[in-house]
């Protein structure tokens, strides 16, 4: 459902000639622009500014001190680890999904496209909850580990011996993040590859290229900016996810805290400046994401 939001759109793509009758009167232009800018200022720019202002309120020293604090560093590390695993897996999936959906026709295609969008319709809290149901102590995994007679007793023994844990541990955080960021790359690539068609790939086949050669030399160069944008969005969401991760993490300081969870803990303990300092890092990530988006759009509109 967020498909439209995540798509690149070309700014200022020509809409014909501007004649007098299709233009609003000056006072209308001024009023609407003022109303729109005030709304954006109050609801969007002000919160962004507040993050940095509050982070720096008690001085630059404390700001940086909050970032190199041991728990903060552990949170940053876990966030990076999560993104490093979640983003590439969804990239591989996104490319594979876009390839079979746009280059071939098969029954059930529209169902598949709808199912890919499904995680967008699921509340982050529910996304976290389903992994608790599967892997929690009262969940299927817990029942398996505690059962008397089970299938594959050696597997049960091995899992117990390994102290295998998904929930309240890193694997759960990574799984929940993969679920939440699942559609981003695919949703970006599918419309792009649909628009490009299959002519160039057919030409490559005719000239004797094999599958990998077609992908690396023909398809990838065509989709690289869309793919890059998909990765940027996927990464931003992976690093910033809060609700889903909060359910599966268990909030163990220095161990299962990601950056957004660390912000929450600091904030709830009234360490406001420290909370906003860590939050500024995340806000910076958001700004970089938006800048990259604008740059890619700008490139697209010139191409």
């Amino acid at each position: 459902m967020s498909s439209i939001v995540t798509h690149l759109h070309k700014p200022g793509s020509s809409h014909g000639h501007a004649s007098r009758v299709t233009q609003d009167a000056a006072w209308v232009r001024w009023t609407l622009t003022t109303v729109a800018l005030l709304f954006l200022f109050g609801f969007v720019l002000l919160p962004l500014t507040a993050v940095f202002a509050e982070g720096l309120r008690k001085g630059v020293g404390l700001f940086f001190q909050s970032l190199v604090d041991a728990d903060a560093l552990a949170a940053i590390k876990l966030t990076l680890l999560t993104a490093v695993i979640a983003v590439p897996s969804n990239v591989v999936f996104g490319v594979a999904a876009a390839w079979c959906i746009t280059k071939f026709s098969f029954p059930g295609k529209s169902v598949l496209v709808t199912l890919i969008d499904l995680p967008f319709a699921v509340s982050p809290v529910i996304a976290g909850m389903i992994f608790v149901l599967l892997f929690g102590l009262q969940g299927w995994l817990g029942q398996y580990l505690n059962a008397e007679s089970v299938w594959f007793p050696w597997l049960q023994q091995w899992l117990i011996h390994q102290d295998f844990q998904v929930i309240y541990a890193t694997p759960g955080i990574i799984l929940a993040t993969i679920f939440i960021t699942f559609p981003f790359v695919a949703r970006e690539l599918i419309p792009l590859m649909q628009a490009q068609g299959t002519d160039e790939e057919y030409a490559a086949v005719t000239l004797g290229a094999n599958g990998w050669q077609i992908f690396w030399r023909v398809t990838l160069p065509n989709i690289k900016w869309g793919l890059f944008y998909g990765i940027v969005l996927c990464n931003a969401r992976a690093m910033g996810e809060f609700g889903a991760v909060s359910v599966v993490s268990g909030h163990i300081r220095g161990e299962t805290n990601t950056m957004p969870l660390h912000v929450e803990i600091l904030y709830n303990e009234y360490h406001f400046s420290a909370a906003f300092a860590v939050a500024s890092l995340l806000a910076l990530l958001a700004i970089v994401t938006l800048v990259l988006k604008s740059v890619i759009e700008w490139r697209n509109s010139r191409a």
């Binding site: 439209i4 299709t22 071939f104 098969f106 929690g136 699942f182 299959t198 939050a279």
Partner: protein, 276 residues
């Protein structure tokens, strides 16, 4: 156009489709089915008791009304913002255009604490409202503010391409037939934008129903007052009441799937003028 899969000369169909379906099943379908399997193990009386307790019903109400109000406000301001971004030019337009996506890119927890600070009694905006006895943080109004922030890009980004594709000829025709600009806007332009406006508003609404991170800070989760449905689920999970949490999640999932279906239909309708 692609030919039938069996006759397509491009390689990799089996591999890519196989991987896609396997990954989709493992990551999304199988875990999601856990909710419905868990729910099907409950008796109807158990289920009904979980989803209709006064606390939960109050959470439905808060979530629904705050989401609805936020979506309505966004449909009004979002239309103006989208119109401004497409039709007018002013210095810094590119920056403003990029800013619209901020609610999408900013982690929800960061948005939550920032909004709480601004709208709190001593915040940049809150301190001007406090003397007038208007409190936003820790009231349902705060939930509404957070959801308005979250929903804005959905409306603007749905409308923008549709406004770009409006044919100026229609406006010219309307003007040449003697319509005032006001009549042209309300009888020619708005009807063309209406389906996209509804679709964008519905998307903002759907997103708001499940939103958690930005709301929990500014709403403070006061039971029967500002507690939202996702927070009730978290609370039940913390008490190891998995059945109760699952039952409420089922209600939420089913309603958001229905909404998703409606939005897809709306989008088809909204593109009926733009067959490409």
């Amino acid at each position: 156009m692609s030919t039938r899969s069996s006759r397509s000369i491009l390689p990799g169909f089996g591999l890519s489709l196989g991987f896609t379906v396997a990954y989709l099943s493992l990551i999304v379908l199988l875990p999601l089915s856990a909710v419905f399997i868990k729910t099907s193990g409950m008796t109807f009386a158990e289920f009904w008791q979980s989803v209709s307790s006064p606390l939960v019903v109050s959470a439905y109400k808060v979530t629904f009304f705050a989401s609805f109000a936020a979506a309505l406000v966004n449909s009004f301001f979002g239309l103006i913002v989208a119109w401004m971004l497409v039709r007018y030019s002013f210095p810094g337009k590119r920056v403003v255009d990029a800013l619209v996506d901020l609610p999408f890119a900013l982690p929800t927890a960061v948005a939550g604490i920032a909004l709480t600070t601004i709208y709190g009694p001593t915040g940049w905006i809150g301190r001007w409202l406090a003397p007038h006895d208007i409190q936003i943080a820790y009231t349902p109004l705060g939930v509404f503010v957070a959801l308005t922030f979250i929903g804005l890009p959905f409306v603007v980004r749905t409308l923008q391409p549709v406004i770009e594709e409006l044919e100026p000829e229609l406006e010219e025709a309307s003007a040449s037939l003697g319509a005032s600009r006001f009549q042209t806007v309300f009888k020619v332009i708005i009807p063309q934008l209406f389906p996209a406006l509804i679709a964008g508003t519905a998307m903002a609404f759907a997103r708001s129903l499940g939103e958690y991170g930005s709301v929990v800070f500014i709403g403070a989760n006061l039971p029967m007052k500002t507690q939202i449905v996702p927070h009730v689920i978290i609370e039940k999970l913390e008490q190891y009441d998995y059945k109760g949490a699952t039952a409420i999640a089922t209600v939420m999932l089913v309603s958001s799937f229905i909404l998703l279906l409606l939005i897809n239909l709306l989008q088809k309708w909204s593109r009926r003028y733009h067959k490409i």
